[in-house]
């Protein structure tokens, strides 16, 4: 079965994975993006300390017509991303333990013609913080050994009285992350 994927950026898929973690009740979400041009790999991973899945649930999640919710839509996010990764000589793997959390890892051949652009990761991070400002988001982006780290737990400790979803703070965050990620590609 071929699913029609309307996502335009990998960062849209990344947001979709973060949404899953938030829905699973995670209080900490670790996001890692790794780009290695010499190894021709682009991979990303979202790990959380949410409710986790048992083996049967992990099997089912690859199926486009299964969702943990009994009502409303079917869960299409993971099958879509897995299909996109496999089309680019990569794959998607879920590791999970009930009560401990879930990690979803995806890889792509970086130079593959069908690989979606990574896109606007800064907006994805801002959307996630707006959703649940008290969740610790740790973002780690590596490009050929250069690294950008954004850790909201640091901001949360600095801000205490002020939730991070204040519009001015969200705007700052977007500019900060955009700038930091852009620098990864300049190599200076």
């Amino acid at each position: 079965m071929k699913l029609s994927n309307k996502m335009r950026e990998l960062s849209h898929h990344l947001l979709d994975l973060i949404e899953n973690s938030l829905a699973a009740g995670a209080s900490t979400i670790k996001i890692t993006v790794i780009e290695d041009t010499s190894g021709d790999i682009l991979g990303f991973e979202v790990g959380d300390n949410g409710g986790g899945l048992n083996e049967e649930e992990i099997e089912q999640i690859y199926d486009p017509f299964v969702t943990s919710r009994r009502l409303r839509r079917v869960g299409l996010g993971i099958p879509l991303l897995q299909q996109a990764a496999r089309a680019c000589e990569g794959d998607l793997i879920i590791r999970s333990e009930k009560g401990k959390g879930t990690t979803v890892k995806t890889t792509f051949r970086r130079s593959h013609i069908d690989r979606m652009p990574l896109g606007d990761v800064a907006s994805t991070l801002v959307a996630a913080v707006a959703a649940k400002p008290d969740v610790n988001l740790l973002y780690n982006h590596l490009v050929d050994g250069r690294e950008f780290i954004f850790d909201t737990s640091w901001l949360i400790s600095k801000f205490r009285e002020l939730p991070l979803n204040d519009v001015k703070v969200l705007s700052w965050m977007k500019g900060f992350c955009r700038e930091g990620i852009k620098k990864l590609y300049r190599g200076d």
Partner: protein, 125 residues
């Protein structure tokens, strides 16, 4: 265009200013804007809609608005969906939005308090 804030010092100044505004707003009711961010919403452009709303609110210096998100509401065909809850006027669920419509929504509904009826999917009194 507003200057981008890059340093931590500037961020801390921002924090103080935001705390002041929180005190001010506590007397009056605040507006909440909820963007649908399920897989269906993301695919239809919900993240871009949310960024346009945040940007417009930031540029216009409106302080009594909270932008947040919800999952799929089962109306996937109408995504991107945004719910606006402003005290004193009916709660409206808007559908089929894009960045441009989102910016107009901030101006017309959030600032001026006028419901844009042709984009409204649901009205709750």
């Amino acid at each position: 265009m507003m200057k981008q804030i890059k340093s931590v010092d500037e961020l801390m100044k921002l924090k103080e200013a935001a705390l002041e505004k929180i005190k001010e707003r506590q007397a009056s009711g605040k507006t909440t804007i909820v963007v649908g961010m399920g897989t269906c919403g993301i695919t239809a452009g919900a993240r871009e809609v949310m960024m346009a709303i945040i940007d417009e609110i930031d540029k216009r210096n409106i302080s009594d608005v909270i932008v947040t998100q919800a999952g799929c509401a089962g109306m996937c065909q109408h995504e991107p969906i945004v719910e606006v809850n402003k005290p004193g006027i009916p709660q409206i669920v808007y559908g089929h939005l894009d960045e441009e419509k989102a910016r107009r929504l901030v101006l017309e509904h959030v600032i001026n308090g006028h419901v844009i009826e042709e984009w409204a999917l649901v009205q709750r009194d």
